[in-house]
Amino acid sequence: MNSSLNIYGTPLTSRLFIGSALYASPKIMLDSIQASGAEVVTLSLSRQNPEANGGQAFWDYIKSLGLHLLPNTAGCHSVKDAVNMALMSRELFETDWIKLELVGDDYNLQPDPIALVKATETLIHQGFKVLPYCTDDLVIARHLVDLGCEVLMPWGAPIGTGKGILNPYALQAFRDRFPETTIVVDSGIGLPSHATQALEMGVDAVLLNTAVAKANNPVLMAQSFAKAIEAGRGAYLAGPMAERNTASPSTPTIDSPFWHQS
């Protein structure tokens, strides 16, 4: 398992990746991103008419932070759309990183696993470093790794739900089965404790957006996530105690007077 975090060879200190959507203003977005300490910011071209640089002013704000940009293909429903958006993003943001999102179900925004594998193959052939947003399905993940993905981004819960890690068993299995792959939990994180839980499980990083952007105080929430992620990682490295079914006193009782023992 990776002791230090890197994305396709780029070393990172922060294990929090943060999104740039849904903030009340660009100022609040920039303040929140800075408060989070994140070094990777995701951004979307969706609906911005990128062909005419429609979002330029907004992108300039994000670029002014000087962080790693991770464009995504949010809103794409087909391989063709996702590949086109990836190509456009590479040109606009001068990065070969792409967070590949392919919606397979409009109701819960679940990724389409078949299209995801196809698009990953196409993009890797075109020189992209793909960070695929996937479910916790181990077989699909294996295909993605076999295609050359060094990073996998399984969901914790559907996008924007804030429900936390709905299936910890599956996520733990995911972590354990891909010990050499960087695992970033993407989507579903609502509270700092959810992020802590993911990091405690040995997940390498967490990507979130709504949890910070829609908090009443996004800057404070961003700071709280940074601390939670640090705590989770620390706990993972420290090695947690084993759970027991029976109580075990933390203070030895053999030398205590009998009237203190109940």
Binding site: P26, K27, G55, A57, Y61
Partner: protein
Amino acid sequence: MTSRSINQDLIRPKIAILGAGLMGRMLAVSLMEDYQVELFDRDCGDAKQSAAYLAAAMLAPLAESADCSKEIMQLGARALQQWPDFLSKLTEPVFFQKKGSLVLAFEQDLGDLELFKSRLKGDEYELINSLEIKEIEPGVNARFNAGLLLPNEGQLDNRGLLLALSKTLKDSGVVWHKQAQVTRVTPAGESPMYHCEGHEFSQFDWIFDCRGLGAKEDAMSDNQVNKPLAQLRGVRGEVIRLHAPNVTLSRPVRLMHPRYPIYIAPKEAGVFVVGATQIESEDSRKPTVKSALELLSACFSVHRGFAEAEILAIESGCRPAYWDNEPKIKVSGNIVSVNGLFRHGYLLAPVMVEQCLHLLKGTEKSSVVTKIMPLLMVKDG
């Protein structure tokens, strides 16, 4: 002008107002008594290029406070009180309503409604159930089980107002230069200057720059330390106007939506304004199918009477905004720039005018507006 003597005109200071959108027109009406006002308009007088032409003209300070600062809410509440007085100065009546607004959410969006409520920066609202919703707006979809009534919100007819302002200015003889595109030229190290073919700006005592996004290129050339932060940007919005005589809504309804607030604002004569999308893009294209679908399905889901509504127009435009989405009055010598009203043009216009009047009188520091929001006004030097 005809009723004034030449002497009166000689002593009245001269003011150029650049931009004939909402701010430009309202300032002109507010200043025309005491100043010689000339209005410079890149349009033909119909305001079709202004953000104000599209806006739903909601006067909803509390609802907006879910996504703006408390200061903006307070200024909006103050402006709401000022609107009737301002409208009374116009030569034609304008539809103005203060019957509150209704916030509704479908079952699957109740979490968003809860979040919305928790973000409001005031407490003048009532939680209402399905029976109460039916009582105050009998026609809405029976599937709404919960909502909020914000009794103090208002709205007006944006296009009616723009026309009434235009008529008032015309009746008062204010000089209105149409199709007069003004650009700002700022030679290095010198004070800003304006250029417009056939006009000389040095004759004016004050210049009020209310060009909205028309001033974007100028703002970009400002010598600021951090350029992106000084820039104006456009935030795209798409709006649909409908004629729906079968719809009985009597007050604006705000529907919870995962990305942006959607309003259905009833105007006069069965006209409804449904909007608006809010997309971080200066996309100047016509509205997209996706946005139209979102807006139309939103209104249809609220009231089935929209099924046979006539689509009068589907339009798009961009709102001028600074990076904090808050307006600014920037003063540099005798040049005053009023800009960045974002989605709060109608919400805030009267207090922006009020503050400009204080600036002209030199009483801006002691004004109520300054007390509420000291950072509204930025002075060079």
